[in-house]
């Protein structure tokens, strides 16, 4: 108990200082140091929450957990989650500490814990949290320099799931063979979600004889602002208007909806509440700056980037401008080879020479990628400074600006937007 007190007090002080000194959001450091003092902290604190859900997978964790939180909050649940994309154990520890009263050690305002865990953190944390529901979104090639091979990721999940000795339900993407395969290693209930007529471009696809518990049919992508489809579950059919661009977000919705359904949330109310759903910072964002529409799409890996480029390409007009930003910090992946597996060819629009600015620490790598994707070098401009590139994109565009940064470039961009007064600092946003 003393250990836990010490850990929480230290973390609270660090949290106070980092925010006071403007060192950033302080979303990871407090948890990191607290865990050094009490490694059991996550187990001790999360057990005080009545219901916990973990969400893992390569793409869509943040959007899914944010959407599920939105559904739950609409139903008056008090939600606690690691909300700024810090999906390692320390991020969870920080979020728990944040809501813990340092005197009574009680958690305030926490009926439901929603935890996004990256592929590796899942194995470290899930047995401590003992979640009621585990959601598996997909496994794609992401930062293999950090996680190892796709097969290794799935094997480690399987090993972890074999050790689950508490009651839990798995909700898995039924279109992804890698998540589907987890069924064999899990004794508890197992349900799936997916799209019967869609193919994910990616690693491993399940195609034939899919039996899905929650499915989206008749998908129509009408604009950059939304997609519509028919949701089919438990013999019911509902029309859904999802206010997010690109069909790939349908998986995030299906996962969040299925989890909400098992929390006994009202299906109709969940669907209606989508109207007021705002996606997570930087994942997909629409801002109006100096009278111009600016769209922000986070890119992290080949599959996600290809989906984003496809979505943009379907909508782009000659007067628009694109700004790509590639960093190679740890959180982006030190290896930038992945850009050669992403389909930049989508940005080669035949009828007109779209202008594309390349920025970030590896701006030159992006520029070459575009050249080999078949774009004319006259269309490509390198501006390594993110701030200058951002200013320039606003200055030269006659239409909209599409910005696709990698993770730390997105954080950099958020700071620039905050500094210029276009947006609040991201860690001050409501979650």
């Amino acid at each position: 108990m003393l250990r836990l007190y010490l850990a929480i007090w230290l973390a609270k002080i660090i949290q106070f200082l980092t925010r006071r000194l403007n060192l950033g959001g302080g979303s990871a450091a407090p948890g990191l140091y607290a865990l050094k003092i009490d490694p059991q902290l996550v187990k001790k604190l999360s057990s005080k929450i009545p219901t916990n859900i973990v969400i893992s997978g390569t793409n869509g964790k943040t959007t899914t957990s944010r959407m599920l939180a939105h559904f739950a909050q609409t139903n008056n649940f008090k939600v606690i989650r690691n909300s700024t994309g810090s999906n390692l154990e320390r991020g969870i520890a920080s979020a728990l500490i944040n809501k813990t009263n340092p005197f009574s050690l009680k958690l305030k305002n926490a009926d439901l814990g929603i935890w996004e865990l990256d592929e590796a953190a899942f194995n470290n944390v899930v047995l401590s949290i003992k979640p009621n529901i585990m959601v598996f979104l997909n496994v794609f090639r992401d930062q293999l320099d950090r996680y190892g091979e796709v097969n290794t990721v799935v094997k480690k999940w399987e090993e972890t799931l074999k050790k689950v000795n508490f009651n839990s339900l798995i909700l898995a993407n039924g279109d992804d063979l890698n998540t589907l395969r987890l069924k064999g290693s899990f004794r508890g209930e197992f349900e799936t979600f997916g799209m019967p007529n869609m193919m994910i471009k990616g690693e491993a696809q399940a195609t034939k004889n899919k039996s899905l518990n929650f499915k989206a049919e008749d998908v129509k992508v009408s604009s950059l602002d939304n997609v519509t489809f028919n949701l089919n579950f438990r013999g019911m059919r509902q029309q859904v208007l999802l206010p997010l661009p690109g069909s790939y977000h349908i998986y995030d919705f299906l996962a969040a909806f299925a989890a909400g359904y098992h929390l006994n949330l009202d299906p109709e109310q969940m669907i209606d509440s989508l109207d007021g759903f705002v996606p997570a910072f930087g994942r997909v964002e629409k801002l109006i700056i100096k009278g111009k529409n600016v769209y922000l799409f986070l890119i992290k890996n080949p599959v996600g980037a290809t989906q984003v480029f496809g979505t943009i390409a379907a909508e782009i007009k000659p007067e628009d401008t694109v700004l790509l930003a590639l960093n190679d910090n740890f959180a982006d992946g030190k290896d930038v080879s992945w850009i050669w597996d992403a389909n930049f060819e989508e940005l080669k629009i035949k009828d007109f020479g779209l202008r594309i600015l390349c920025s970030g620490q590896r701006a030159e790598d992006l520029a070459i990628r575009l050249k080999y994707a078949g774009l004319n070098t006259k269309q490509i401009e390198i501006q390594k400074s993110l701030e200058k590139a951002f200013d320039k994109s606003l200055e030269i565009t006659k239409g909209r600006v599409f910005i696709t940064p990698t993770y730390t470039a997105m954080l950099g961009l958020q700071s620039i937007l905050a500094k210029k007064g276009y947006k609040k600092a991201y860690w001050k946003e409501n979650n």
Binding site: L144, W338, I380
Partner: protein, 242 residues
């Protein structure tokens, strides 16, 4: 004027294409097409029949362990054709897993040796060190080369094998002897992903040149391209990572 035509044989492109390996094939294709050389890419996979003389360049990338087991078995059926072509001067670029399978063998921790096809006089042993990071090497033929390595296998050169280059920064073959890769005739094996060729256009052009010379039996001088972007990327990264 004759139109040159090249066929790129992409060995196991369906199974061995990790870390942007496909970028190398894209680079070869584009750099040939920008010079009006016609290019065909042929996928060569498990069960396919391969005859000598069908391919003008080979590319062989890296893969996950599971794929590597399957490929190790299958490549034995293609060994004679590949080796006959390499003896004639057909260029080949192999990276990571592909490089390992072109050596004498790969010895994993558990389980039996995976036999290679012995294009390169090297052998590889599994290790507990993961050698990850940017890598810069100095070579005789191509100057500096820059890429990204990610392997735990350690490759050792036997006495007749010639390394591709000397490490400036990074781990290379085994993290010990400062060597990286291997070169035999016009065949190259190395650990450099990145993708390698787009950022090292000199090497890409050398492969194309050797390929045309072998196929058409004459000295070929490739047309110069505007490599402004490639050179910029090459220079920035060699400087940054040296």
């Amino acid at each position: 004027m004759i139109t040159y035509q090249l066929t790129i044989g992409y060995l196991y492109g369906d199974l061995m294409n990790i870390y942007g390996d496909t970028g190398n094939v894209i680079a070869l294709k584009k750099r040939a097409e920008w010079r009006d050389i016609e290019v065909t890419i042929k996928q060569i996979s498990v069960g396919d029949h391969l005859k000598p003389g069908e391919m003008d360049i080979y590319f062989f990338g890296g893969g996950q362990d599971q794929s590597q087991d399957i490929v190790a078995k299958d490549i034995q059926t293609k060994a004679d054709a590949i080796k006959e072509d390499i003896e004639k001067g057909v260029p080949l670029l192999s990276i990571c897993g592909g490089y390992q399978l072109l050596g004498a063998y790969y010895q994993p921790f558990n389980g039996p040796k995976l036999e290679g096809i012995k294009v390169f006089d090297v052998y590889t042993e599994a290790s507990h060190d993961r050698m990850i990071g940017n890598i810069v090497i100095e070579t005789k033929e191509f100057g500096k080369l820059v890429g990204f390595e990610n392997h735990s296998g350690k490759t050792y050169l036997r006495k007749d094998a010639r390394p591709l280059g000397k490490i400036i920064s990074g781990f290379g073959n085994n993290g010990m002897d400062k060597s990286e890769g291997c070169i035999y005739n016009n065949a190259i094996g190395c650990y450099m992903h990145g993708s390698l060729l787009p950022k090292n256009p000199k090497l890409a052009d050398w492969l194309l040149e050797k390929s045309l010379e072998t196929k058409y039996g004459e000295k070929i001088e490739l047309k110069k391209l505007d490599d402004d972007l490639e050179d910029k990327a090459h220079n920035t990264s060699t400087k940054k990572f040296s």
